[in-house]
């Protein structure tokens, strides 16, 4: 993991209803993060956050039952210090705004390169209140 030296590796909770993606993310993040759990919907995220007390939660917006935006709001309400990275398949300004409004620290487009995801987690872990979007550069 690049950037300034941190006292410890971030504890990361992953949530996406597309299981194969969770496997890939885990593979990407394993060298730099402690992936504490990977769950399939927004409702499970809240329970897993209680159990694992993660530093950063990576949340897909489009999830069944409770979607990522709702889960983000609830996480921030219960654990204000938690960093949330919201992920969407849509590279759309409306999603970025929605993520910002829900209290996320970062927005990432799903197909983004691995180091962008790492940077987003770093940003969320840094505890900053500034919102950042990590998207593919326009063609």
């Amino acid at each position: 993991m690049s950037g300034p030296a941190l006292p410890r590796r971030p504890r990361v909770l992953l949530a996406d209803d597309y299981a194969p993606l969770l496997v890939s993310w885990r593979r990407i993040l394993d060298p730099s993060c402690d992936v504490v759990d990977a769950v399939g919907d927004g409702r499970e995220v809240l329970a897993a956050a209680r159990t694992h007390a993660p530093d950063v939660v990576v949340l897909d917006i489009a999830m069944p039952e409770v979607n990522g935006l709702v889960a983000c709001r609830e996480l921030k309400a219960s654990y204000p210090g938690i960093g949330v990275v919201l992920v969407s398949a849509f590279d759309d300004a409306a999603f970025q705004q929605a993520a910002n409004a829900a209290g996320a620290a970062a927005f990432v487009v799903k197909s983004v390169a691995a180091d962008e995801l790492e940077r987003a987690i770093d940003h969320a872990f840094s505890g900053t209140s500034a919102f950042r979007a990590f998207t593919r550069p326009p063609r």
Binding site: A94, S111, D115
Partner: protein, 694 residues
């Protein structure tokens, strides 16, 4: 040859010698049927002979003719009467007289000129016309007018000679016995006949042959009997004699005794002018004509179009249409346009046919237009009192004219409806535009009606009633189908969008991520890592493209971000790409809106905004979404060039119909206000339904 022709030519008529013609009739002098016949005969003879005519008539009482004593007495009387000055020609005006005058020749030396029927021949010194009654023609015309008729009631008298008519009819119509059952009503007194015809099976035909005498020896006028029998009958009465027309019969192939005697008179003139009897002989003529009484056709709801070609319709009344032509036309124009829309080509064809007929006869045109519109029409005064009415088919009347004419709407109609009618009369007074009321009546089933009320003058009002059950049903069906189409289309789009997103785009995202991971793995040759990074980027782009297609089919923003943000996102994108300023305001929108309500308003916004950017030329648009008192109101207002909101073509072009249907499906209403040059305002009001909680 020339000599022969000369000798065969008649001697030139002597213009000074008087010609004595004796016409013998079979009935009383004053019998109504004979008055016209007598007059026609005399006129035709006068035309041929001028001042030379010396005309006398004898009337023999037919009802007593078979009595041999009476016959020889009459014969003796006539011979004695004319012994001093015998006639130059005797005219036998009917077959009965032919028999009487030929069997024992009345005046053996005097030529007999006759009108007879087939099978009744005169002696050698005779010439004339054979004219048969077409009993069958009347019956086939009746069956054309009433194709479902199964019973034919033959009404006849039992005076001497009357049985002959019945026999001839039965003989001519033998082949129709497989199609209909004949019932004979003969020999009865007039009151008994009336009683019989009062309760006939539905769809019966009454064939009136004439009633001169009954079994008990009473005699009647055949014309007066026609009137009272027709009045009593529960089925249309047809006849064969021209004299019956105008006296209650519908009509038929009417035999013209007038025509018979006219032809006979012409023969008589030729005989008197010297032509030889043998040369003239017996000539067959046809005195039948299809003739009908317009009042009876109307009484029995028989369409003129069902009558045989070339039929003559007489006794036309000045129609309701004649009286209220201008007012009716105004109402009819609107209705005709609606009808055409609804029934399309079929009606057009029928109307064209009617229009062609109308050119032939102005009166026919009026009634044809009236018939074309399945209406009831009433004229009422300010108090709602019924002054006049028109009905195409009496069965359309729920209350019979005897019960409503002269009474008021309030006395006849259910109170609530009567109130609506009276209000409308109040409103329409002094206006030219009609007031339209739609109402439902629970009859055999729920039926829908529409009435247009318009003023005739300050004191009278015309109410045009039309049953709209069928068109209402068609409209409902249309709406249901349109609704189903919209719903199933949205369902399908959503399904495909999901498929694209969940299965294709997700996997492409994963592919991009995995390729990206490979690209940065240490130890791989640099060239390979660059290529893997490029592949990752391609896969990502492809995923993005698929997401956009999916989004276009069904907005992911709506599902994931909610209505407010989805509309906002759409407006932002549109404003950017089409360079138009769009203000979006929203308040009071529930967080969890039912998906169909959200989709409905999103699509309305989409459609309306696309209209704005495509057609209006507007520079400023305001979109408002406000939730108040359980209703969500979406307003899209622009400062563009507007359009004629009343023009149906604009509606179709602007997708207003589909917007309206969507809103209606969600239980709401859509209002579009626009005028040329004045901008457009679209407002959708939909009741709020929240999403079912998970």
């Amino acid at each position: 040859m020339a000599l022969f022709l000369l000798s065969a030519a008649p001697a030139p008529p002597d213009s000074t010698v008087r010609k004595k013609v004796l016409a013998i009739f079979y009935s009383m002098r004053q019998a109504p049927l004979l008055v016209d016949v007598d007059a026609a005969l005399r006129r035709e003879l006068t035309d041929g002979l001028g001042d030379r005519l010396e005309y006398s008539t004898e009337h023999i009482d037919l009802s007593r003719l078979p009595d041999p004593v009476y016959q020889s007495a009459v014969r003796a009387y006539l011979r004695t009467k004319y012994v001093e000055s015998p006639p130059d020609v005797v005219i036998a005006t009917s077959s009965t007289i032919v028999q009487f005058a030929s069997r024992d020749p009345l005046f053996p030396d005097v030529p007999l000129v006759y009108a007879t029927r087939s099978g009744v021949t005169a002696g050698p010194r005779a010439a004339g016309v054979i004219s048969d009654i077409d009993f069958r023609g009347t019956l086939t015309a009746a069956l054309d007018a009433q194709p479902d008729a199964r019973d034919v009631f033959l009404v006849g008298g039992s005076a001497p000679g009357e049985q002959t008519y019945l026999d001839l009819l039965r003989r001519q119509c033998r082949d129709l016995e497989t199609r209909v059952t004949f019932h004979e009503i003969t020999g009865l007194s007039l009151p008994e006949i009336e009683k019989r015809v009062r309760r006939l099976p539905a769809g019966s035909i009454v064939y009136y042959l004439g009633v001169i005498g009954d079994n008990s020896g009473r005699t009647y006028s055949a014309v007066e009997a026609a009137e009272s029998i027709s009045a009593a009958s529960s089925a249309p009465v047809y006849g064969w004699h021209e004299g019956f027309l105008g006296h209650g019969i519908v009509g038929g192939r009417l035999h013209s005794a007038v025509n018979d005697v006219r032809e006979t008179a012409r023969v008589a003139v030729r005989v008197l002018n010297g032509e030889r009897l043998e040369a003239l002989g017996a000539r067959k003529i046809d005195s039948g004509v299809f003739e009908f009484d317009a009042r009876q056709l109307q009484r029995w709801s028989i369409a003129e179009s069902s009558l045989p070609a070339g039929s003559v319709v007489v006794f036309r009344q000045p129609t309701f249409f004649d009286r209220y032509r201008g007012y009716v036309l105004g109402g009819l124009l609107v209705i005709a346009a609606q009808l055409m829309l609804i029934t399309g080509l079929l009606v057009q064809r029928a109307m064209r046919r009617r229009a062609e007929d109308a050119l032939i006869d102005a009166t026919a045109r009026n009634s044809a237009i009236l018939r074309a519109v399945p209406d009831l029409m009433f004229v009422v005064d300010r108090d709602g009192r019924y002054l006049d009415y028109h009905v195409r088919d009496r069965r359309l009347l729920l209350v019979q004219p005897e019960e409503f004419m002269g009474r008021t709407i309030c006395e006849v109609m259910p109170p609530e409806l009567a109130g609506q009618f009276m209000d409308a009369i109040g409103q329409v007074a002094g206006r030219t535009e009609p007031v339209v009321i739609e109402y439902d009546l629970m009859l055999d089933e729920l039926r829908h009606f529409e009435v247009r009320i318009l003023p005739v003058d300050p004191f009278r009002f015309l109410a045009i009633v039309r049953e709209v059950t069928e068109s209402r049903r068609a409209m409902d069906l249309n709406r249901t189908l349109a609704g189903r189409l919209i719903t199933s289309q949205e369902d399908e789009r959503q399904r495909i969008a999901r498929e694209l997103h969940d299965h294709m785009a997700q996997r492409l995202s994963l592919l991009a991520v995995d390729l990206g991971t490979l690209a940065r793995e240490d130890g791989s040759p640099a060239g390979l890592r660059t290529r893997l990074a490029a592949l990752s980027s391609h896969a990502s782009e492809l995923g993005g493209d698929l997401q956009r297609v999916s989004h276009r089919l069904h907005p992911a923003t709506l599902e994931q971000l909610g209505l407010e943000m989805a509309i906002d996102a759409f407006c932002r994108e549109l404003a950017q790409t089409r360079r138009v300023a769009i203000d979006v305001e929203s308040h009071g929108v529930p967080a969890a809106l039912a998906p169909d309500v959200a989709l409905c308003l999103y699509r309305v916004a989409q459609e309306a905004l696309q209209n704005v950017v495509r057609h209006s030329g507007a520079s400023q648009v305001t979109v408002r979404l406000a939730g108040e008192d359980g209703v969500l109101v979406l307003t899209i207002e622009d400062d563009g060039r507007g359009f004629d909101a009343g023009a149906p073509i604009e509606h179709a072009a602007l997708g207003l119909t589909s917007m309206r249907e969507r809103v209606r499906l969600a239980g709401g209403t859509l209002a579009v206000e626009s005028r040329k040059g004045g901008g457009t305002r679209v407002e959708a009001r939909v009741p709020v339904r929240e999403a079912r909680s998970v």
